[in-house]
Symmetry: C2
Subunit: 257 residues, 2 copies
């Protein structure tokens, strides 16, 4: 099951806001054994949202959009998804109930801007927003799943358990282990990484993340990660890969890690 995240907002694409949402959603799903393959960010424009959606519907099974669910005129994510998929936009009874409860209890009118947040494509279910106002959306479309959650990180975060519940339990377990290596250039350790990867041939990825300069006291984070049929399975494969790697580093560079 491949997953993509679409982060919608002018503030993201023009670089005002660093898109931590896509990372947080992906990290959460990866650690739960799922495979995220793409992130896309686009403006609050129906055309761009639709093009992103159509591109990703070709590539993945689950799409999670974040951003653009609020009451302002540029919050058009759900309306755009409806248009793009040619699904009628309708007032969702459950969402309306929630908004009524929230605003009317404060004696606030249900204005057009507030009601907008209850409009969902035909067939959508809502995801309750326990940390804010705009409800999230869950839609099954053409054998795929589309989720829309707010862009406010706290609200997005509060909906992740509900997304997971709808996706079901992954049959895979994920694990990552990182170590720090000092004093070896990335270009010097590169052939060793390839050697270990080829020798082990066990599906464990080995990635070097440079933390410092190639020359003059290089510092690398070496990451071992992958998916397994169980936690034990992935743990064993990562540990044996790490052991092989550290032995070869010791032999070649006369340093222990």
């Amino acid at each position: 099951m491949n997953i993509a995240v679409i982060s919608i907002g002018n503030e993201v694409v023009k670089g005002r806001t660093v898109d931590s949402n896509s990372a947080e959603i992906s990290s959460f799903l990866t650690s739960n054994g799922f495979n995220v393959t793409y992130h896309v960010s686009c403006k609050d424009e129906t055309d761009e949202i639709c093009k992103s959606l159509m591109f990703l519907l070709e590539e993945v099974d689950v799409i999670i959009t974040t951003g653009g669910l609020g009451p302002t005129m540029d919050d058009i994510s759900i309306e755009s998804i409806s248009k793009c998929l040619r699904l009628p936009l309708e007032m969702n009874a459950q969402a309306l109930d929630i908004l009524k409860t929230k605003y009317l209890s404060l004696k606030l009118e249900l204005t057009e801007e507030r009601l907008k947040m209850a409009k969902m494509p035909l067939g959508a279910e809502i995801i309750e927003n326990k940390s804010g106002t705009a409800p999230g959306m869950f839609l099954k479309y053409d054998g795929k799943m589309i989720f829309s959650v707010p862009g406010v990180p706290r609200e997005m975060r509060s909906m992740l358990p509900q997304i997971l519940l709808n996706m079901g339990v992954s049959k895979k377990a994920y694990m990552s282990k990182e170590i720090r290596v000092n004093g070896i250039m990335e270009s010097a350790i590169a052939p060793l990484i390839k050697e270990v990867f080829d020798v082990m041939n066990n599906g464990i990825n080995i990635k070097s993340h440079p933390e410092s300069f190639e020359f003059n006291n290089p510092v690398l984070i070496i990451e071992f990660y992958g998916y397994g049929d169980s936690q034990d399975d992935i743990e064993n494969r990562i540990n044996s890969t790490y052991k092989e790697f550290s032995q070869r580093v010791k032999n070649k560079f006369s340093v222990s890690i």
Copy 2:
């Protein structure tokens, strides 16, 4: 001239690393008067890199990729771009000279992994890496521009002036002004934002970024931004929009901003 950024790396899509590079590149280009419309992140896989590239080549004039230029086996961005565009990969003489100078001065061998960083698609120019080792790439393709820069933020950053030089001066000036509004709900200010946007009708975007809860002491950042034919032009339009907005806020909510 529309621009997209592709951030390449498993660590980005699986959420290990927050993609601050795309934001930094976009912020730099936006403040220089350019229009960034998409970010895409994908894995270090030729197929995914190619699909991202083909999607964006349909949509934008300039593509900047970041990540995957180093010496390890998973650094395959430039090789993937070559394959995707069916351009032969060749040893770039200028890049080779730079690597020779860097490694041979330290009496280090030019291994296969190090030489890999000098391979570029036919017709590519290199962008010198003043802060690291792997050269960047600049390629003209089908009337469009493709830049590839490293994923290490310091190295990416050092190449931004060279990207700008190749893109030329934008005919537009960009400006953004932000103010903080306390105690007004986003759903309450939403119709006022639309009113001001419609009345002014001057191309200035007005966005509300919630910093806090809708209920209980809401805090909003209101952002006014847009492009103009000159710095004076955009400044005047933003200031008149801000003035109209603050006057209406004062009238409606009896608060000054």
